[in-house]
Amino acid sequence: MLQTAQRTAKSKTKKIAPPHERFLDAFRWMLLARTLEEKLVSLYRGGLITGGVYIGKGQEAVSVACGLFLQKDDIFAPLIRDQAGRSAFGEPLLDVTQTYLGSRQGPMRGRDGNIHRGRPQQNQLAMVSHLGAMISVTVGALMAKRFKGEKNFIGLACIGEGGMQTGSFHEGMNIAAVEQVPLVVVATNNHYAYSTPNDREFACHDLVDRAIGYGFEGYSVDGTDLSACLDVIGGAVKRARAGRPPQLVVASVLRLSGHGEHDDASYVTDDIKQEPFARDCLKVAEQMIIDLNLLDAETLAEWRKDAAAQVDEAIATAQKEAPPEGDKEDWCAVATRELVDSFE
């Protein structure tokens, strides 16, 4: 009883800052992403998705802030745990379900799956699995826009602390600063590279210290705090657009899932689950909505229902679509048809 009273007293004295102006907008994308990914997990468990399912549970606040401030002429290079950001940037849900379910009509047409999807024509780059590789690709896309005389564009590339340890990441960061492109790199430290904890990933004091070494401006953020993510990542986007040097934001979270759904994450220690960064950003945001009375319970329930309905529809549509067929596939990897090498 005493403990409860103390906790209440403490939370009452704690000043809650007014949330970012796009807080509710962002929360709704997070809710959609979480709803979608929970559904994908059950489809996977039911054997209806081949390959793997990789979710962004616990990273939605960081991710949504990555997608939310971008305009359609900006370049977005999302990574494995960026469903919330992809949706906020404008990826239709159908792209997700068509890709996971292997529809021939999806953007990847069954040729690539799960999170390896994108629409480069619409500035949403399609990641390769080799981490760090998309940083320099984003740099090049921005250089092209500069060559073409476009104005007011930026690029945002996502990475994790795992990907930050690749040579490709290092080269990409350095070349971004050399070229002085308007780039934001958002690095989410979710404390595990698959099963490997931070102490076997890097030995520097703080990953954000690397920013100065690259010629970036660096910022840290609590990735479980949606409002803070919107402030810090939104601020970085604004600075990049205003012509400041490239921006690095390092967010701290705990991955609240396995690497993929095949992984039970039994290696995640009980101790780390007690850390402040182990909070579920969606629950934290929801608590803020309740505490500050930003939405009434009815609207919140309505939003949940709407998210579920959108997801169900996207899944049902993709499930009705035909899969690709080996003997009807166009087995040609080059665009110049007359240069196809023919094999007997």
Partner: protein, 322 residues
């Protein structure tokens, strides 16, 4: 007027920069007043300000940047300082550029110039021929020009097409090979060329080995043999039809390549001829490549490591005796 293989490459780039505002050149030391380790871009930075750009020593990021720019409508030409260093960029070339059209339906029109092949004293890390590695992976066009004319027209072709092109230019040919003038047009892309006509034996080759093969053919002509020499021009696509037509005339096949022996372009030619033209062969097809060791530094070792006219002639005579 006389123009070298290297000058043809520079002239092609000058023309591309002049004619197409989407083109820019990206690589180590290509810009400024320096103009590249081999001077393939000399003067271009001055003539085309802001479009011939020096880069850090970051092969992965150089190609990654070119890929991103190509997706957004540019036509970047990447100069690798030496073909050997493109190994650092393999991931971007093979996994990113090579898969992109297939995966997304969006082509990646980059051209990666690889100063390739051996010159004496260059050793294990400045002498490699990488065409077979790139040809092994889907989604890439691999060009291996052997003449001044092809060096010029094929580089222009490489930039024009929508696919990623690995353009293997041979360093030995840079200064050794000269032509009177630049052509206005070349053979169609992907078509092999009969470089010398004959009836007794077909030698299929490409890049610098073409000139060794022609020297051997001339030597054997004095012994009464007429050797046909096929210059593949591009190893991918591989013009199997021209090769088969030649083997149909001669009944004997020797493939010569400067790259390492295991697998590769020469093995691919033999495999195709064996599968599709077995009935045309009067003797078992043979090949000659470099030795299966790293490329040696000392000229005495280097000249033995790579296929040379003496070895080609020995192999050819053995085949002709069968």
């Amino acid at each position: 007027m006389s123009i070298t293989y290297l000058e043809a490459i520079r002239e092609a780039q000058a023309k591309l920069l002049r004619d197409d505002e989407r083109v820019f050149i990206y690589g180590q030391d290509v810009g400024g007043t320096f103009g590249g380790a081999f001077k393939a871009t000399k003067g271009l930075a001055k003539e085309f300000p802001g479009r011939v750009l020096n880069t850090p020593i970051s092969e992965d990021a150089i190609v990654g940047t070119a890929i991103g720019a190509a997706m957004q409508g540019m036509r970047p030409i990447v100069e690798m300082q030496f073909a050997d260093f493109s190994s650092i960029a393999l991931n971007q070339i093979l996994n990113n550029a090579g898969t992109h059209y297939w995966r997304t339906n969006v082509p990646v029109p980059i051209t990666v110039r690889l100063p390739s092949g051996g010159t004496k004293g260059s050793g294990p890390f400045h002498s490699q021929s990488m065409e077979s590695i790139y040809a092994h992976y889907p989604g890439l066009i691999v060009m291996t020009p052997a003449t001044v004319e092809d060096a010029y027209t094929m580089l222009i072709d490489a930039v024009a097409i929508d696919d990623p092109v690995i353009y293997c230019e041979h360093k030995y040919l840079y200064y050794h090979l000269k032509a009177d003038k630049l052509p206005t047009e070349g053979l169609p892309m992907g078509r092999a060329r009969i470089a010398r006509q004959g009836r007794d034996l077909t030698i299929v080759t490409y890049s610098a080995m073409l000139h060794e093969a022609i020297a051997v053919a001339e030597q054997l002509a004095s012994e009464g043999f007429e050797i046909e020499v096929v210059d593949l021009r591009s190893v991918k696509p591989l013009d199997t039809n021209t090769v088969l037509a030649s083997v149909a005339r001669t009944g004997r096949l020797l493939c010569v390549g400067e790259s390492f022996p295991w697998g590769g372009a020469t093995a691919e030619v033999i495999s195709r001829v064996a599968a599709e033209g077995f009935h045309l062969l009067d003797a078992a097809p043979q090949r000659l490549n470099a030795k299966d060791t790293p490329i040696p530094y000392h000229p005495n070792l280097w000249s033995t490591h790579r296929p040379n006219a003496k070895e080609i002639a020995r192999k050819a005579r053995a085949l002709l005796r069968e």
